[in-house]
Symmetry: C4
């Protein structure tokens, strides 16, 4: 089974997710600047999710570069990841529209955690298919960054109920850590 | 006529269908956990439809792998399938928002049945174009799974009016049967 | 300038148009069969537009098959066609929600006419770029079908104000004429 | 890292942006011609944004033609541009629904300016990666048109508060300047 169409389908779904999120940015009522100000939580949530989905696309892009083949299991592990990513527009709007109330912030974190778990399952599925000592296995290494992110999200969820800003701060921090370009795949590819 | 663009167009439409379904998952009113609970029927419907559309994509992906050429008839048989799939977001929301009331569950089943019929027509159209003793014909075989699914859906519709949960159970069961990876195409490809 | 990316972009936009049209099919209020009946005008409009957009995709698909190169003019002639096609979801919903009232039916016809004009401009632009005695010119011929469709749409608009059903009948008829597979391109390609 | 998938993803996102903008064109209430007239500001905004997004697609298309490779920086510079483009549907609807009131017109201009800045950053990022004396550097030249557009947008924002029509006029003018086909890339490609 060719990886080409899986990549194309994934690109399509991620492109749609990242773009329809903007539909939750409802047109503000009123026509002066004071109508825009109350939108900041929605806008900030949108920026955060745009970066998160962008990171997933980037990581999937790099990962599939070293992938040599896919099977039915990989396909469903990938669809599982796309499922949790597809919930992003709703969880983002839920967090933004409720001005970062604790429960919505925790729900957003739960979605991020489920994406991270799905990504981890996808990596393990691909690892099993390719075996050790392959370009894929070397590129992935022990995926420390992915594991730490997952732990961070899982910590953020209960901490949200102490203060939701701890949760939000953790989400921003994890995104920033990932924005630092991931050299692992690049290193293997260049070799 | 090249099959490449038909595949690309189909991938595009299926990617959009699977992603815009999430737009029916309206942002919950309220900001505590009790606001999330009433969403379970909508969420459950969404999961079921995500899997069903994912299955169609998977099956179309595998099927087109053994296809050698397409003509106008195939193109319209394919568009016919995409039409019934495109109704999934509406029938899914209709079922979820009405908390699995009998009529919406039956309508959802009717859409699944019409997708199955359209898939069957597509298979027959491709079979006629390719003839017997081709990779396509060998891969498809007698498509027992497809026929059984159609019969199951057609039975589910009237049974829904005895209890809607029979209908829902049948839809879940058929999806599970398909989730078991279909080895038919893989077998022929590997040969 | 390669035609590949123009084809891919066009496929993408048409795939999105054909799929987001379904978002205008609002989830019916109520949970029994009587809630579905009032939806027939919206459903019928949706079917008609699905076929029309499908026809345009099919024709663009075949036409670009014989195209050898594109330039800036072609690109904008193509975007012009996509613009009028992109209005389909709105004009379709306008017609359906108003149960085929004369003005909405005329507006729908105007959109179809503008699509036909845009298609005609695209054909002329491509013809000029390729010159006579090319595969493209031979395939297009004098585009009788396209011209007759345009005349039919332009007649339908005023006739709608006598009876809207004349307009609707003309739209259905033109779609049926096009559904008869167009052998012109196929003939040239096979040669 | 191959430029192919970056192009495909960009095409996908731009295709979706240009198409979902139409979802802001709400179906008019009422069924006679007088129901359509009040829609002109929304329709006019839609046309303007369709052309602007079409121009970006066109420019990105031409630019990536001369690009030889991409890295993580390019990818994020590109995502940054897509982010500001993705706000187009909202800023367009904000401007149209408020019948070109000064603040919405200024906000629309700010989005255009931010797109222009993001485009400029993308050009600089690609320039740095490719170095001088490359097809890319020659094609881009000093990007005078891009810089003048940015200055025009930045002037339009304050001028909007004198009269919003100055702002609108500037946006239309800049779009017209770009519609004149850009020969720079074509010239280099032809050589």
């Amino acid at each position: 089974m060719g990886k080409g169409r899986v990549e194309a389908f994934t690109d399509g779904v991620v492109a749609i997710i990242i773009t329809i999120m903007v539909l939750e940015l409802k047109v503000p009522h009123g026509e002066d600047l004071s109508a825009l100000l109350p939108l900041w939580p929605i806008f900030f949530s949108y920026v955060l999710s745009f970066i998160n989905v962008g990171l997933y696309w980037n990581n999937l892009h790099n990962m599939f570069h070293t992938v040599q083949r896919v099977d039915g299991r990989v396909l469903w592990a990938n669809l599982n990841l796309l499922f949790w990513l597809s919930l992003m527009p709703v969880t983002t709007a839920f967090m933004g529209e409720n001005h970062f109330a604790p429960v919505p912030v925790a729900v957003y974190g739960a979605d991020l955690a489920l994406c991270a778990i799905a990504y981890f399952i996808l990596v393990v599925t691909l690892h099993r298919l390719h075996g050790n000592n392959t370009a894929f296995a070397r590129a992935i290494g022990n995926d420390r960054k992915g594991k730490i992110s997952l732990v961070a999200y899982l910590c953020a969820i209960p901490l949200t109920f102490i203060s939701q800003w701890i949760g939000v701060a953790i989400y921003v921090l994890v995104a920033l850590v990932w924005l630092v370009p991931d050299r692992r795949f690049a290193r293997v590819i260049e070799k």
